[in-house]
Every structure is written in structure tokens, then in C-alpha cells.
């Protein structure tokens, strides 16, 4: 695998005066001594190198990406064009509000729209990702109890199907974590929950629908019980695509809710980021929202630094504006009708795939799912794992689903097709999964050796961990 450091360097055509020492008064020992080992290349070399690299990737424009809980829907190209306009792209965050009324108006409007979608009164746009939104939510809850003199409320309850960022975020905010085992049908055990609620409860973190793709039928009871015990309810919004436009977390009892704009609201995943994780809160948490907030006095948009009970800031400026503006364009495009269609087709496509695959793979929870469902690779064939199935799917031209999550299903395969697929592509995926199940029984070696059609085949993870090479070894 060639990196930029393997390409032959072109001689630099530096002008002498450009390289003369430039910092008067700098102690000589503080001037750089060793040259950077970044090669000097010509543009054609760089264009070819990164074009070649891109062809070794698989994006949403290449095909179905059924990653459960990631919502890999189509990323509209208009949005890229809009945020690239210099009026939006070339503005420093310290620009006086008077000269940035366009961006501030969009951000303010976006806060209002997100609040309406959540069914909660106030929103912060600062968090840079879903996990960052979770952390912000934990900070808000911590501050809430602090101001009420309830510092003994130090425990967050979460389910055994929770995404790893949930306990990680709670722990980072200084909370203890208490894991609640789900019932055999995958839902919250309300009785067990009641037993663990006490004066140490700060609250609960829930994903709705849960990471099995199942909507909690007793959701309002769950949140009511937590509230009765004096706790707050945090909803992880990763699965919002399943009910957007039709239901609101505020009506389910959520006090805090985070959005993943790079999931539900179509902004591109970028190979791992950047994202944006705005947080909506109930009235009693509004005083603690991060500063600065964006306000509107009827004529002008401005920055509000006043909230004196604020937790402070979780972003050095206002949030990932470039990402937020793309999501804003998406909301404008879709409107109410479009949003209701999103959740409808997301759920239709998931239930259709579940129907096509339930007699071929083990389906631990055979009921109406929302936008995603979980299969198990167990029992497909002796010695065949979910990893083998996933790798063989690559040879069939698909990105594998999420694997080995949630933890409560062994050999899990979590499938979320999203609404931006045709029946044709769903059927092609289902056909591939069926073919692989047959291969597993009759030619398991094809799965064990998969993938065979990619630029590299299975990589030695153990070697990577035991002998880490984490940067280019210039010395050798």
C-alpha cells in the first residue's frame, strides 16, 4: 500500500528570500532545526495518489451500506455546494454578528426547528458529534443536580443494549454506571428498573427505539418512574430516523435528547467525521445550556453570553456550522411531508428485509421492527462466524452491516437499510445474504477466505496490535 511518503520527491523551486529566517527576536535554539520529512510533490502526483486511494474505499454512492444505528442514507450534493459559498465558508467565527446575520439567522432557525422535532423547548448546537452531545447532556444533568444541592445523585442507569458511547460519556462526566439487563423480548425490565431507582439516581440513558430496532412499548412508564424517583431521562437520538416527523422524544418523557446530524439529517460521514450532535432540553435544563447562545431581538441576531448558570462551553465557538448548515438545507428541502416519508420508508425497508431474511438467519426478536433489526450469525453453519458472513458480503459488492453489536445478541448482525434504497437494491442484498447462507453450509471455505475481491484481504489485527507501526518508518 503506497503512501504519500513512498512517492519520489520533486526538487523544490524555492525562492531564496522565501526561506530566510522570518522571526526577529526568536532565540536561535527555538528555530526549527530538522526539516519536515514531507515530500515535495507535483500536483499530478498528488491527484493520482488520492484518486487511487479513493477507489479503494466504499461510500454511500457506491452501494447499500446497511450499518445498523449509523443511518447511512444518501448525502444530497446540493448541500456541499451551499456550504462552499464563500459567504458561509470564508467567515471567521470572531466576525461581528452584524456582518454575519445570514449564518446566525440559519443557526437560530435550525435551533427552532430541532426543538420542534424533539418536542423540547431549547437547543444547543455546540456538540460536535453524538457522543459529544451525550457528554454535554451528562454535564447538564450534573449541573442541574448541583444547583439543587443533590450531589449524591451520582448514578446513571443504562441498558445492556446501550451503545458504548453511553457508559463512556456518563463515566467521563463523573457518574457511576449501573447496567440494567433487558427482558427476553429485548425491552426494558420496568420492575427491575423500579428496584434500582433510589436517592443516588441521577437518571437513565435510553436509545429509542432500542439498538435492537424495537420501540419500547412502556416508554412513558419508564420515564415516569425515573422522574418519580427524582431522576432525569436522556434519550440517545441515534435512531431518530425511525420516527422523525411522526413522534417526538419530548412526548415520551425525555428531558435531554441529542441529534446526530450526520445520521438522521443526511450530512456525510466523511470516513469517520466531522459530525454534529445538537442537544435539545426540557425547560428545567435550559438555564444550564452552553454559551454563547444565539438570540434574536426581533430585528437582529446576536450572541447571548448572559446565562449565569451555564455549564460553560463544549465547543470553542458555536458548533460545527458547516455541518449544521447542510442539515438545515435538508430540513428545508424535506419539509413536514418529506420528514414523515423518511421514517415511513426507513421502517418499510427494514421490515421488508427482515421478512426476506428471517427464515434464513436466526432472528432473535420476530416482531414489527422500526428502521433496523438484528440477526444472529449463530447456527448458520459449523465454524462460521458473523465475521465470515460480513467478509463474504464484501465479495458480493456490499458493505457489511454492523457486527457484534448490540452485545446482548451473540454473533449479531445489525441491519439498517435506510429510506434511500430501491426495492431492487434491497432484494439484491437479501439475495446475497441467502446465497452466503447456502455457501456457509456447502462451501464454508469461501466465507473463511473472504474477501478475495478487494485490494487487500483480511488483515492481521494481532500483528497490528502487538507490533504497532503508527507512522511512516522513515528510518528504514
Amino acid at each position: 500500500m503506497t503512501t504519500i511518503f513512498d512517492l519520489p520527491s520533486v526538487s523544490p523551486t524555492a525562492r531564496r528570500d522565501d526561506l530566510s529566517p522570518a522571526i526577529p527576536g526568536l532565540e536561535p535554539a527555538l528555530a526549527r532545526r530538522k526539516a519536515l520529512r514531507v515530500p515535495t510533490l507535483a500536483e499530478p502526483q498528488i491527484a493520482r495518489h488520492y484518486t487511487k486511494l479513493s477507489r479503494m474505499n466504499y461510500g454511500v454512492d457506491d452501494g447499500l451500506y446497511p450499518l445498523g444505528s449509523c443511518t447511512m442514507k444518501y448525502n444530497p450534493k446540493l448541500h456541499e455546494q451551499l456550504v462552499a459559498m464563500p459567504e458561509f465558508a470564508d467567515v471567521h467565527p470572531g466576525t461581528p454578528p452584524r456582518l454575519a446575520q445570514g449564518t446566525l439567522a440559519a443557526l437560530h432557525r435550525m435551533s427552532v426547528l430541532l426543538a420542534a422535532i424533539a418536542g423540547l423547548p431549547a437547543v444547543t448546537l455546540q456538540p460536535s458529534a453524538g457522543a459529544h452531545g451525550e457528554l454535554t447532556g451528562m454535564f447538564l444533568m450534573k449541573r442541574f443536580f448541583e444547583t439543587r444541592g443533590e450531589k449524591e445523585r451520582n448514578t446513571i442507569i443504562l441498558t445492556d443494549s446501550a451503545h458504548g458511547t453511553n457508559p463512556a460519556s456518563a463515566a467521563l462526566a463523573g457518574f457511576r454506571v449501573l447496567e440494567l439487563k433487558s427482558l427476553s423480548d429485548g425491552t426494558v425490565d420496568v420492575d427491575a428498573l423500579t428496584n434500582v431507582l433510589d436517592e443516588h439516581t441521577a437518571g437513565i440513558m435510553l436509545t429509542v427505539p432500542n439498538t435492537l430496532g424495537l420501540f419500547e412499548p412502556r416508554i412513558r412508564e419508564v420515564t415516569a418512574r425515573v422522574h418519580e424517583a427524582g431522576g432525569l431521562c436522556y434519550f440517545d437520538g441515534a435512531n431518530l430516523n425511525s420516527y422523525i416527523g411522526r413522534a417526538r422524544p419530548g412526548d415520551m418523557g425525555a428531558d435531554v435528547f441529542h441529534f446526530n446530524l450526520h445520521k438522521t439529517l443526511s450530512t456525510p460521514h466523511g470516513g469517520g467525521g466531522p459530525g454534529s450532535g445538537p442537544v435539545a432540553v426540557a425547560e428545567h435544563l435550559e438555564p444550564f445550556l452552553p454559551v454563547p447562545r444565539i438570540d434574536f431581538d426581533g430585528e437582529r441576531y446576536g450572541l447571548d453570553w448572559s446565562p449565569d448558570q451555564t455549564i460553560g462551553s463544549v465547543h470553542p465557538y458555536f458548533g460545527n456550522v458547516g455541518v449544521i448548515l447542510k442539515a438545515f438545507a435538508y430540513l428545508l428541502r424535506l419539509g413536514d411531508q418529506g420528514l414523515a416519508e423518511v421514517s415511513a420508508y426507513a421502517c418499510l425497508h427494514a421490515n421488508y428485509l427482515q421478512h426476506r431474511l428471517k427464515d434464513v438467519y436466526k432472528l432473535p426478536y420476530d416482531r414489527l421492527c422500526k428502521h433496523e433489526f438484528v440477526l444472529s450469525g449463530e447456527g448458520v453453519a459449523e465454524g462460521v462466524t458473523t465475521t465470515d458472513i460480513a467478509k463474504r458480503l464484501i465479495d458480493f459488492g456490499f458493505h457489511p452491516p454492523t457486527v457484534y453489536f448490540p452485545l446482548i445478541v451473540h454473533q449479531a448482525l445489525m441491519i439498517e437499510p435506510t429510506e434511500t434504497e430501491t426495492k431492487e437494491s434491497l432484494d439484491a442484498f437479501a439475495d446475497a445474504m441467502v446465497a452466503i447462507a447456502k455457501e456457509a453450509a456447502n462451501h464454508p471455505e469461501r466465507l473463511h477466505e473472504a474477501p478475495i475481491s478487494t485490494p487487500v484481504r483480511r488483515l492481521d489485527q494481532t500483528q497490528a496490535a502487538r507490533e504497532p507501526i503508527l507512522r511512516h518508518p522513515f528510518e528504514t
Partner: protein, 440 residues
């Protein structure tokens, strides 16, 4: 053009296959009172053309980009971005791909991550770097948390001269993690004073160039702080011509990577840089790509040391981070590749030279002088004879933007303004800037 490609016929076929007769029946598992509570946003559906028109109207209320020359800084700078950078970012295989958990079909992303990590190690002199965090401010906060994990202490000394946004974020994280922050003062030369450090520190945090623009001299600091970790927050472009923090024994280096080929976009998305030494790898947050071989012996890249991360360690993870700033890291990688070592040095030198040129011109104005004698890179602070907000306004009227002077009051500095200059500012602009400044 719609985004949902399902035809009516296919919708009916799928509904029929699953035994339902309408889309609404897909929501039978949501309690009726919740569905009934839903309120529409009151938003019509707009065509692509209408959305574009809406944004054009908003753009008209954003004159900052076209009608003003930027002398703003604070970690975010107006550097020239070569056209090859947006070209690479526009490749949808990069832009629309997910986190590379399936390495066989993600060698593009993973190779670029490895290149980025290498380049950050080159800039900072450190042994390992992660594939990015959200921004320089949260990167500094994560470094503080990491130092606490390593030393099992909760007290950190931090220079007063951090950029305002960075200081605020650090304070918020410190409050939540119950970390005692002790402020280190700024001396008469504009540099942080490291005398009289408290005991039992897990770390000492300093920014260089600092919030007054002054390049810190950190030689000897590591020896004076016992076993506390030395954490330095850097300006990545400055490191092309300034000796990197590894030389003074820094344990962790963080920074804001926006100057490396990212647009400013009103402050986000940004790029958190994070580098440290190999001995601390188990404590480092964020994703890392490593080189390895496949079953045929071919070399390739994969994410490694994942047992630090949330999807395995959950509440005992080094951080909760999942999504990072991957595409921005790709932008920075292509930026650095397209400039090369010489190009980066040229950008750094040109920015520094123009900043010094402007500073010299301004000092010709009576009553205007450098606030501190310490050396600066591309950002400096000058004392002004009158109310700094008057200068700020006058410059604005002249078509120039500088940072809000109130940033400086936070540092105990009155009657001064901070100015940043990059290679994009022309001689003509510097001349006119000086004239407007003088007339104010």
C-alpha cells in the same frame, strides 16, 4: 429530484410482502398518545432551486467574506487553500464513507489516516498521533483528562494565555471531572511564568504561540515540574519554522488544525490535533491507524489499539469519542502533501514576515507599540492610545476585521488589540490597514 427512490409499485409490493396495507401501520408499535402528540414543524417541502434561493438570500446578509480582509486569529486563520484539497474532499468515496471498521474496503481512508498521523508526528516531533479529535479546545481538555489518568491526580497548572474559547472549554471539562485548575501568570515579556508551581500536579498546560501571540520558551520547564506531564497546545503552521515541543520534553502536544487547509466556516467543523509519546499509547484517546499485512503478505492499514475505545471498553474507555474529524484530517493531509516541507515553511515564513512588517508599520504611529518584547509568529498585540473598540470599528469601516479586543481584557490587558496576518494579506492591504489604523 427526490431522495427516496422507492416507486409506488415497489412500496405496495413490500407492504404486501410483510402483510401490511399502509405505511402508517408500520408505526403500530408506538403508543397512540405519543403519535397523537406529534406537531408538524409548519415547513413546506421546497424544491432544490428554492433551497438554493433561500441560501442565496442568507448569503447576502453575510458580507464578511467578500467585502472585508481578515486580520483575525485566535487559532483560526485565513490561509490559502490549494484547489487540490477541495477536489480530494469531493470524491464521494472519501466523503460518504463510514468509519473504517471494515479495513478491506477502507484502505483509502486508512492510508490517509496513517499519512495524517505521520505528518502530525513530523510537525510536533512526537512519536505517535491519533487520527483527530473534534477541535483544539476539546483536544486540550482530553489531554488534561489523560494526564489525570496517568498520574492519578486532579490538579493541573495552566497558563493564563490560552485563547478564550479554549479556556472556556477546558474550564467546563475541568468542572465536570472535578479537576483543580491553577492559573499561571503572564510575565513582563508576554511569556508564561513557571516559577512557584504548586505540588502534586498531574500536568502543566501551555499554549505556544500563546493568546498574546508570543512564542513561549519552554526549555527547562519539564525539569522543573517533577513528574507532571508537560502539555503544549500549538499552531501547526508555526511548527514549520519553529522547533517542535518534543525537543523540550513535551509529553502531549495538542492543537487546532484548521489552518492546515480547512475553511473557517464560522468556527466549525474544526480539527483537533493530538500527539504523544509511545509509552502513553494505552491512555491516548481517539482512533489510530496502524500498518500490518494481510493473509497474502501484502501491506495494508487497519485501525488498531481499539481496546482503548468506547465500543470495547465502554465506561472504562480512554474517551467517549466515536465520530471524529476524519474528512478535515484528510483536508489537512492533502494540504500538507500539496505544499510539502518547503511549501509549509514558505507559508509560515510569509505569514510571519507580513505580521512583522505590519507590526513595524503600526509602531510608527504615535502611541502604538508592541505590548510585549517577546518574539511572535503571525499574531501580535499592540498598545493603542485610545479605546480599542474605536480602532475595531474604524478598521471595520475601512474593510478590515480583527478579533474583538474584549478577548484581551480576559488576559488582564487593556487598551490593546490583537492582530493576525497570513500570507494572503497583500502589501496593498497592509498599507491601507496602517492608514486606517492611524486615522482612528
Amino acid at each position: 429530484m427526490r431522495y427516496i427512490p422507492t416507486s409506488d409499485a415497489d412500496r405496495e409490493a413490500m407492504l404486501s410482502a410483510i402483510g401490511l396495507s399502509s405505511l402508517d401501520e408500520l408505526f403500530a408499535d408506538i403508543p397512540a398518545e405519543i403519535l397523537d402528540g406529534n406537531k408538524p414543524l409548519g415547513l413546506p417541502s421546497l424544491t432544490e432551486q428554492e433551497v438554493a434561493a433561500t441560501f442565496s438570500q442568507l448569503a447576502q446578509r453575510n458580507p464578511a467574506a467578500r467585502a472585508f480582509a481578515s486580520f483575525q486569529g485566535g487559532g483560526i486563520y485565513d490561509h490559502y487553500v490549494p484547489a487540490i484539497v477541495p477536489y480530494v474532499l469531493s470524491r464521494s468515496e472519501f466523503a460518504t464513507a463510514y468509519t473504517p471498521y471494515q479495513p478491506e474496503i477502507s484502505q483509502g481512508t486508512l492510508t490517509a489516516m496513517f499519512e495524517f498521523q505521520t505528518m502530525i508526528c513530523e510537525l510536533t516531533g512526537m512519536e505517535i498521533a491519533n487520527a483527530s479529535l473534534y477541535d483544539g479546545a476539546t483536544a486540550l481538555a482530553e489531554a488534561a483528562l489523560m494526564a489525570n489518568r496517568i498520574r492519578r491526580r486532579h490538579r493541573i497548572a495552566v497558563s493564563r494565555a490560552l485563547f478564550a474559547g479554549v479556556a472556556r472549554v477546558l474550564q467546563t471539562y475541568a468542572w465536570a471531572a472535578e479537576i483543580e485548575l491553577i492559573e499561571l501568570p503572564i510575565g513582563p515579556d508576554g511569556r508564561t511564568v513557571f516559577d512557584h508551581l504548586p505540588e502534586d500536579l498531574s500536568a502543566v498546560l501551555v499554549q505556544s504561540p500563546n493568546a498574546l501571540g508570543i512564542i513561549e520558551d519552554l526549555r527547562g520547564v519539564k525539569d522543573a515540574i517533577g513528574d507532571a506531564l508537560l502539555v503544549v497546545s500549538v499552531h501547526p503552521i508555526s511548527l514549520a519554522i519553529i522547533e517542535p515541543p518534543a525537543s523540550v520534553g513535551a509529553d502531549i502536544v495538542v492543537g487546532e488544525g484548521q489552518p492546515l487547509g480547512l475553511t473557517r466556516s464560522f468556527g466549525g467543523p474544526l480539527l483537533g490535533l493530538f500527539a504523544t509519546q509511545e509509552r502513553y499509547i494505552r491512555h491516548m484517546p481517539g482512533r489510530i491507524a496502524g500498518r500490518t499485512s494481510d493473509v497474502d503478505g501484502r501491506s495494508g492499514f487497519t485501525m488498531t489499539a481499539q481496546t482503548r475505545e468506547q465500543h470495547i471498553r465502554r465506561q472504562r474507555a480512554t474517551s467517549n469519542i466515536c465520530t471524529n474529524s476524519a474528512l478535515c484530517a484528510l483536508a489537512a493531509t492533502v494540504y500538507m502533501a500539496s505544499l510539502g516541507a518547503d511549501g509549509l515553511a514558505r507559508v509560515a515564513s510569509a505569514s510571519a514576515r507580513r505580521a512583522h512588517d505590519l507590526c513595524d508599520r503600526l509602531e510608527q504611529i504615535s502611541g502604538v507599540s508592541r505590548l510585549f518584547p517577546g518574539p511572535f509568529f503571525n499574531e501580535f498585540t499592540v498598545r493603542v492610545p485610545q479605546d480599542p473598540s474605536r480602532i475595531h470599528r474604524a478598521l471595520q469601516q475601512g474593510g478590515f476585521l480583527i478579533d474583538d479586543p474584549s478577548d484581551l481584557s480576559r488576559l488582564g490587558v487593556e487598551n490593546a488589540v490583537r492582530i493576525a496576518v497570513t500570507e494572503k494579506r497583500t502589501d496593498e492591504e497592509l498599507k491601507r490597514f496602517t492608514r486606517v489604523f492611524e486615522e482612528a
